[in-house]
């Protein structure tokens, strides 16, 4: 379980995140969604400790994320960025095994684990020796997800993981991610600006606006019982009425 307790962050006079509390139950997938600048990426970065909140705290299974604990906690968090964040000077294989190598995990164990995650994210073995610059966008995201999964972390945080992909690749990876999250029973928080993707991946959707959480719940709750007119407006801007019907049926 990941808990955020009254976390707040301002950049100068701009409030990126007003005092916000939210809880992510173990084994569930939550999608953070909202328009650009709503604070969803800031929230995710605070969760992984890349941004220090002005106030409040983050707890992983009750243990607070602090400067002293961040490094060991991060090793149990799988983090995926929009552009993959793969190190361009290392092969895909080395990108995936880097942390294990640094921590001195035996090579045989790493090799076996690499086989497993390569199967999970369906990346051809031959592509593992390529540099990230030589991979396609979809392959890069698969490698990035493999890297996040490598240490078998209980928590996965993904920031627009499919945001930079073409629609066809994106649709395929959405299916795979959904299956993966369902199978691995990890606590997943995924940031996206796409309502369809949020509803498809997440059992719960958290809609944010101007640094606040406007509504959190199952996708159909947002359609059927919008908390504010903004919820309706945001849903309508992204979906046709028939698509919304389909969403509420889910």
């Amino acid at each position: 379980m990941i808990e955020a307790e009254r976390i707040a962050k301002s950049y100068g006079s701009r409030v990126a995140l007003a005092a916000t509390s939210i809880r992510f139950e173990s084994g569930t997938t939550t999608a953070l969604i909202g328009p650009s600048g709503c604070g969803k990426s800031t929230l995710l970065r605070i969760l992984v400790g890349l941004v220090t909140p002005d106030d409040g705290r983050v707890l992983y299974d009750g243990a607070p994320l602090t400067e002293a604990t961040s490094q060991s906690l991060r090793r149990r968090i799988g983090f995926v960025l929009q552009d993959g964040g793969l190190f361009p000077h290392l092969s895909a294989r080395r990108n995936v095994t880097l942390l294990a190598d640094v921590l001195g995990q035996p090579a045989a164990r790493s090799a076996a684990r690499l086989e497993e995650v390569a199967d999970l994210v369906r990346i051809p073995r031959a592509r593992l020796d390529a540099a990230p610059g030589d991979l396609s966008g979809g392959e890069r995201q698969r490698v990035s997800i493999a890297r996040a999964l490598f240490m078998d972390p209980p928590w996965m945080l993904l920031d627009e993981p499919l945001g930079a992909l073409d629609p066809i690749t994106r649709r395929g990876l959405q299916d795979e991610l959904r299956q993966l999250f369902g199978r691995l029973k990890k606590t997943v928080v995924v940031v996206t600006h796409d309502l369809g993707e949020a509803a498809f991946l997440g059992s719960r959707v958290v809609l944010m606006q101007d640094g606040r959480i406007v509504q959190a719940g199952a996708p159909r709750e947002l359609v059927e019982h919008p908390a504010t007119p903004f919820v309706t407006e945001f849903l309508a801007a992204q979906r046709t009425p028939s698509e919304l019907e389909e969403l509420s049926a889910r």
């Binding site: 400790g49 906690l73 964040g85 361009p88 540099a131 890297r147």
Partner: protein, 507 residues
């Protein structure tokens, strides 16, 4: 990979240091000032001392003006150098009345120095006439000038104005000559050659006396102060190297004004190397052979100069890397410190090199390699610090976030992510530093640190363009070689995917 390359670099640097550093055997270091006569006398002293077989002899050629060479002697950086009695009395001691060696030695003793071994000639102001005119009119000495008021003088500005110049001449010899024409010294010789003037002031051993076939008039009433060539040395030299000193003592009275004039002409007019002038004189052989440009370029000192030059460049850039990369990292990671660090290394770069050297000599109380290396090291910092700072700052934020979010420890982030990603920019900085250093290292010769600059300094001092080129060409060639070699190092250090055209800013 970087760590291994650094280790190789350090090993090579220390090998170079031990190769270039003098051994612990007895050493005699000879100094000289930056003009032809001093270079030649320095070579004669070195050759004689070397043949005594007691000590390793080094000639630090053309260290600089009187002040610098005297400072080097006082500090013990050199053991002996050729000087003139008048200069010691007037410039170094400020006692123009001290004229004989005993008086000078009494004043020098408290400083741990001594003077002796008068070489046999007096290099002072003199009046010279065209030889034909002197013969026609039967003039041999200055006192005979009085009977010839028709003699037209073309004198240098300095000579006309100095108290020990023209005014001394007029009052000592009661001359009634027309007020002299002050000319540029170079023009005075030409005017003399064309017969527009009859007499001019010269130094009594000037090479041009031979070139323009002049007759030097005897200063029979001692109007001009004496500048007898002597050796100025550290007082402990006779005890420290007795056989060497005894050999040097045998030089006393051996070099006449005519000998010296001829040797100056051998160097300045016939372009003979100082070492061969010295050995030709000592061995009583004929005139030393003039040398072609190729011979000067590939003269026997080329390997030594190359080693010295490479050592200066290599050691300063190695030091610059060891200090500059951490400084650049500090600036990159601590944004608050960056402006100050970059400003300081930037200002260092703007200090003119000769000024920096002049500033460093009193700090280290010595000339030579240490202050030169320090100056080159300070100059090497800017490109390396900047390259490192830029290299780290330009890493895409998403890559730095990735490394952090992965939970990599600080040292692993630096070693496996930041340094490799910044390596292209860091190596580019080191390359720039090294190429600049090859050029700047030529300045080091002006304070006796050796290298190709020795030829450039001599060439400048002697107004000898071909000697200057014989130093500048190897220096330029070395810059190309260093650039090429570091290109190879770059291929070794920079990870393959980052090498060409890859931009770390868009991962």
């Amino acid at each position: 990979m970087i760590r291994r390359s650094l280790a190789i670099a350090l090993a090579a640097a220390s090998a170079l240091v031990s190769a270039a550093a003098p051994s612990s055997a007895a050493t005699l270091t000879v100094g000289s000032k930056r003009f032809t006569e001093s270079y030649i006398l320095g070579e004669i002293v070195r050759t004689v001392a070397e043949r005594a077989g007691e000590a390793v002899c080094v000639h630090r050629q053309g260290l600089g003006n009187t002040g610098i060479v005297f400072q080097a002697l006082s500090a013990g950086s050199i053991d002996v150098y050729p000087e003139y009695t008048g200069t010691i009395a007037r410039e170094l001691l400020g006692e123009p009345s001290a004229t004989d060696l005993d008086a000078l030695n009494r004043l020098l003793a408290p400083r741990g120095l001594a003077v002796g071994i008068p070489l046999g000639f007096n290099d002072t102001y003199a009046i010279a006439m065209r030889s034909e005119t002197a013969r026609e009119k039967g003039i041999h000495s200055l006192s005979e000038l009085r009977a010839h008021p028709e003699i037209r003088f073309g004198l240098s500005q300095e000579f006309v104005e100095r108290q020990d110049g023209w005014p001394a001449l007029v009052s000592t010899y009661q001359l009634a000559a027309a007020p002299p024409r002050a000319l540029d010294h170079g023009l005075a010789y030409e005017a003399l050659a064309r017969g527009e003037v009859d007499a001019t002031d010269v130094y009594s051993t000037d090479a041009k006396i031979e070139r323009y076939r002049l007759t030097v008039l005897d200063d029979d009433r001692a109007a001009f102060p004496r500048y007898d060539a002597v050796l100025l040395y550290r007082k402990d030299l006779p005890e420290r190297l007795p056989r060497t000193f005894a050999a040097l003592e045998r030089l006393a009275g051996r070099i006449s004004e005519r000998d010296m004039t001829r040797m100056n002409a051998d160097a300045e007019i016939r372009g003979a190397p100082f070492a061969s002038i010295a050995s030709a004189f000592l061995d009583g052989g004929g005139a030393p052979r003039a040398t072609s440009f190729t011979e000067r370029l590939f003269a026997p000192d080329l390997p030594r100069l190359t080693v010295e030059h490479l050592f200066l460049v290599f050691a300063s850039v190695a030091l610059g890397t060891i200090v500059g990369v951490p400084l650049g990292l500090w600036a990159a990671y601590r944004a608050a410190a960056a402006p100050r660090i970059l400003a300081v290394v930037g200002v260092l770069q703007t200090i003119p090199s000769l000024a920096l050297l002049a500033f460093l000599i009193p700090i280290f109380h010595r000339i030579g390699t240490i202050p030169a290396l320090t100056a080159l090291f300070l100059y090497s910092l800017l490109p390396i610090v900047r390259g490192t700072h830029t290299g780290i700052r330009e890493i895409a934020p998403s890559l730095r976030e990735s490394a952090l979010a992965l939970g990599l420890p600080w040292s692993a982030r630096l070693r496996l992510v930041d340094l490799p990603l910044a390596s292209r920019s860091i190596v580019a900085g080191i390359r720039t530093s090294a190429v600049i250093s090859v050029g700047t290292a030529t300045i080091a010769a002006f304070i006796g640190a050796g290298g190709y600059g020795e030829r450039i300094a001599s060439g400048l001092a002697l107004n000898d363009g071909s000697l200057l080129l014989a130093g500048a060409i190897p220096s330029a060639a070395l810059a190309l070689v260093v650039e090429w070699a570091l290109g190879a190092v770059e291929r070794l250090i920079v990870p393959k995917p980052l090498r060409s055209g890859f931009d770390v800013r868009v991962s």
